[in-house]
């Protein structure tokens, strides 16, 4: 068992302030529908980051302290949390060099998983949360694209249409 999982950990997801401001921009527009909770948008960003990683295998740093987000799975992410964890752990394990699974790697893979998952809270260790933070940052960077991206949308409906287009670019 790795050192990190010796006891259950509590932490907060961290999310770029500009991304939070985008959620607020939609909320402040009375003509727009709203994203239910901030973490639902965080996940949309992370999902895009996870998908995009397959092309360039690059990850930015996660947001620093001070960018903590209201913790825990909420809204639709509560329902989808298992598949969310499965997706991010898949990327994490591949990133650790466990792309191919061999029987003789089992102990090493499990040690990596043990440092990533836990049984309480978000079911992610702080390492797991930080890993997801990086993918969310990657996704947000693409959405924002230096101010020229799809975050210029003023309504959720337009944003989602463009999000699907952006995601589709990574299809084989």
């Amino acid at each position: 068992m790795s050192e990190e999982s010796a006891s259950e950990q509590t932490g907060y997801f961290r999310f770029d302030d500009n991304a939070k401001a985008f959620v607020k921009k939609l909320k402040d527009n009375p003509e727009s529908d709203n994203i239910g909770t901030q973490i639902e948008f965080y996940w949309l960003c992370a999902q895009l980051g996870l998908v995009a990683y397959s092309k360039d295998a690059s990850l930015p740093k996660g947001p620093p302290a001070g960018n903590e987000m209201h913790g825990g799975w909420a809204g639709e992410t509560r329902k989808n949390q298992f598949l969310i964890r499965a997706f991010v752990m898949y990327r994490y394990l591949c990133g650790k060099g466990f792309e191919d699974i061999h029987e003789d790697l089992a102990d090493d893979i499990e040690a990596a998983m043990d440092g990533f998952l836990q049984m309480t809270g978000t079911n992610l260790t702080i390492r797991g949360m930080k890993e997801l933070d990086k993918f969310a940052q990657k996704g947000w960077d693409m959405i924002h694209d230096g101010g020229k991206g799809i975050s210029r949308s003023n309504s959720l409906s337009l944003f989602l249409c463009k999000y699907v287009d952006l995601l589709s670019k990574f299809e084989n």
Binding site: V51, R85, Y90, E110, E171
Partner: protein, 692 residues
């Protein structure tokens, strides 16, 4: 608690536009539990409603306080016969301004009276009980438990429809928690642990023989004084902002209605009606599809196949031969110990070795139990919807909405220049009010939020230096002054109280206070949970008789009232006026059947700002309500509720001046019955400027 409360009479004396007027419930018949009072626009319906809300909760009014108090007192100032180009009376003929409501409370009659001073700078409350008069608010315990200091509750049951449709703000956590605290009789415990116990400990600390230094004692006392001062300031700001928010929402509703009226009064009314119907439908479709796409996109199994299948493939191989060590040891150990293989054969030494080897290989980390859950779910994951098809549908609906918007702008541009100018100005007002409402909501959240995560997420702005880098409450006087959140301020106070108790050498008493507070909190929690559970079930039961869109029902009550559709799939933040009314009416009925608390409901302008297609829903809601119901309407609302405003369903009354001729106006009177109700038409315009 058993409370049966009904309104018998409302009296106006030299307030708003009224001279001396009395309206009585069921004056002409008692066949129904509903009365409808018709008053022309601008008479004072909304002001009367606000007075009733505050009278019930025992809140005296002071213009100096600003906010809603100032707004109400300004509106209460008597204008009536002394206003206009030919006033019929002068100031010396006016009597003492008063507004009162007479109630039947568990069979006894009580009258709550607002007495205004001459310049309407304040309104004091007097009470006439069954046997005695009091020059203050004095109601029986069953009544005060539910209403005193609980303005949110009286605002909930005395409904100003202008505030409807704002994302269920009426049912937010603060309102619902306060309501339940009062209704469950545990407010006294809440007050004890939050105010009384800390106060007792503080008093003891002041008198105790110190074990710490006088300087340390002085410093912590000063810090606690700063906490008290900051708390007073934040509470005052919060109260004012809450009142300002109601006013801004009201103003916004009026502005939106003015826009509607301006369009309706133009020659293009028919075209506007058609385009607005199209636009509303297109907007609804966009909203529905946006929700669908948002839900679909949040679920990874809906990703295009090529993006999700690598994950799926990976998990089929992951931990293929491994299970948690403890399970492997127990399961295979049991097989060996039993002496019989799973195939049924007796275990030979060779087989024993083979099983031991298998056991060694299978013994994985404990985390594998979670991994196997993930594996199972990933394996079962299949796309639930085609996100590209959903996206295409949404794009088409956005185009329809844009087309309707363009048509609407086209019609606006055909208006005459005066109307166009007015429309532009109203549009600007609307945007300003929307921005003001957003800002007020943000401030209110900052001051009142009690969620630790949300507070820390916003710590830069909300807490400043009052939170240390290790996330503990800071104690320095300068740092405390930067705190803008009442919950966090309470954490600071608790820390400082502990410190003070330690210096004073009364830690044992302080600990005893903590224990008692914890017991009280536990009792509160249990009682509230039980009440929430019962009320949720009862409210849902009553709600089922209302015609709710998407079979809307209560999802939970612990974070305010949260709604969900019949399938349990979509949580709903907002509701139409009809839906909000149905929820309020159901909640009132549930309260009555759960805790024997029967209260009247008043609805001001039930059709205000409502699309015609929602009127039937409002009529159904009103018709299904079983307790005392009082509607306050203005002239043009009569034609909008034709199925409800009929004999047998409600008793009608009209407050009117029988002569409205300038210079010869008569005093206000109340007339009862359908003849006057149906035939009354106020002279002059019923214009929106006069709506009150």
């Amino acid at each position: 608690m058993t409370l049966s409360c009904k309104i018998n009479r409302i009296s106006w004396e030299w307030v708003i536009n009224f001279e001396e007027v009395v309206w009585e419930f069921n004056k002409t018949s008692n066949i129904s539990n509903s009365d409808t009072i018709l008053m022309r626009n601008g008479t004072g319906k909304t002001t009367s409603l606000k007075l009733l809300q505050r009278l019930f909760s025992g809140q005296e009014l002071l213009r100096q306080k600003g906010g809603e108090d100032e707004w109400i007192l300004k509106r209460c100032e008597y204008k009536g016969l002394r206003a206009g180009s030919s006033p019929e009376i002068d100031d010396s003929e006016m009597g003492t301004p008063r507004f009162s409501v007479t109630l039947d409370v568990n069979g006894d009659e009580y009258t709550l009276i607002y007495v205004f001073d001459e310049i309407f700078s304040e309104a004091k409350i007097n009470t006439q009980g069954p046997a005695q008069f009091y020059d203050y608010y004095k109601m029986p315990a069953e009544f005060t438990t539910a209403f005193e200091g609980n303005l949110a509750f009286s605002k909930l049951i005395f409904v100003d429809t202008q505030l409807a449709g704002r994302g269920m703000e009426r049912f937010n956590k603060q309102v619902i928690d306060d309501l339940f605290l009062s209704l469950s009789n545990v407010k006294v415990l809440y007050e004890a642990r939050n105010t009384r116990i800390p106060q007792i400990i503080d008093d003891f600390a002041e008198k105790a023989e110190r074990s710490g230094s006088a300087k340390a004692m002085e410093e912590v006392t000063q810090q606690l004084n700063v906490v008290k001062r900051v708390k007073r300031e934040l509470t005052a700001k919060l109260d004012k902002a809450t009142g300002d928010l109601d006013t801004a929402i009201s103003d916004l509703a009026t502005t939106t209605e003015k826009i509607e009226i301006l369009r309706d009064q133009s020659k293009l009314k028919d075209e506007y009606d058609k385009v607005e119907i199209l636009r509303n439908k297109a907007k609804q479709r966009v909203t529905n599809s946006t929700k669908d796409l948002l839900v679909a996109m949040g679920d990874p199994q809906n990703l295009p196949k090529s993006l999700w299948s690598p994950v799926k493939d990976y998990y089929t191989l992951l931990a293929d031969q491994r299970i948690p060590e403890a399970i492997a040891r127990e399961y295979l150990g049991a097989v060996i110990e039993g002496g019989t293989c799973i195939c049924g054969e007796k275990i030979s030494p060779k087989m024993d070795k083979c099983i031991h080897e298998k056991m060694e290989k299978s013994m994985g980390a404990g985390v594998l139990s979670e991994v196997h859950v993930l594996k199972d779910l990933v394996k079962k994951a299949t796309p639930q919807v085609d996100i590209k098809e959903l996206k295409n549908r949404l794009e088409a609906e956005i185009t329809s909405l844009e087309t309707a918007d363009t048509q609407l702008s086209g019609l606006d541009s055909q208006l005459d220049s005066d109307s166009k100018d007015s429309l532009e100005e109203l549009g600007r007002n609307e945007a300003t009010l929307e921005a003001q409402i957003t800002e007020l909501n943000e401030d209110i959240l900052m001051w009142s939020c009690t969620d630790d995560g949300t507070i820390k997420t916003n710590k830069k702005k909300w807490l400043g230096r009052s939170i240390k880098t290790n996330n503990d409450p800071a104690e320095g006087r300068g740092a405390i002054k930067e705190c803008k959140n009442l919950y966090w301020l309470e954490q600071i106070r608790k820390n400082l109280s502990k410190k003070k108790a330690k210096i004073a050498g009364i830690q044992a008493l302080d600990k005893a206070g903590d224990v008692i507070s914890a017991v009280f909190e536990h009792v509160e929690k249990l009682v509230l949970e039980s009440l929430q559970h019962k009320l949720k079930m009862e409210t849902d039961r009553h709600l089922s008789k209302y015609n709710m869109q998407n079979e809307l029902r209560i999802h939970s009550m612990d974070q305010g009232i949260k709604m969900v559709d019949g399938g349990g799939k979509f949580s709903q933040e907002g509701g139409s006026t009809g839906e909000e009314l149905s929820i309020i009416l159901s909640l009132a009925e549930a309260i009555s059947s759960t805790i024997n608390l029967t209260v009247p409901m008043i609805i001001d302008n039930p059709t205000k700002g409502l699309d015609e297609d929602k009127l039937e829903g409002v009529e159904n809601s009103l018709d299904s309500f079983n307790h005392q119901l009082i509607l306050m309407i203005y002239g043009s609302e009569r034609r909008l509720l034709p199925n409800y405003l009929t004999k047998g369903k409600t008793d009608p009354a009209v407050a009117l001046r029988e002569s409205e001729k300038a210079g010869n106006r008569s005093r206000y009177v109340v007339r009862y019955g359908w003849d006057i109700f149906n035939s009354y038409s106020p002279s002059g315009s019923d214009s929106i400027e006069e709506v009150d």
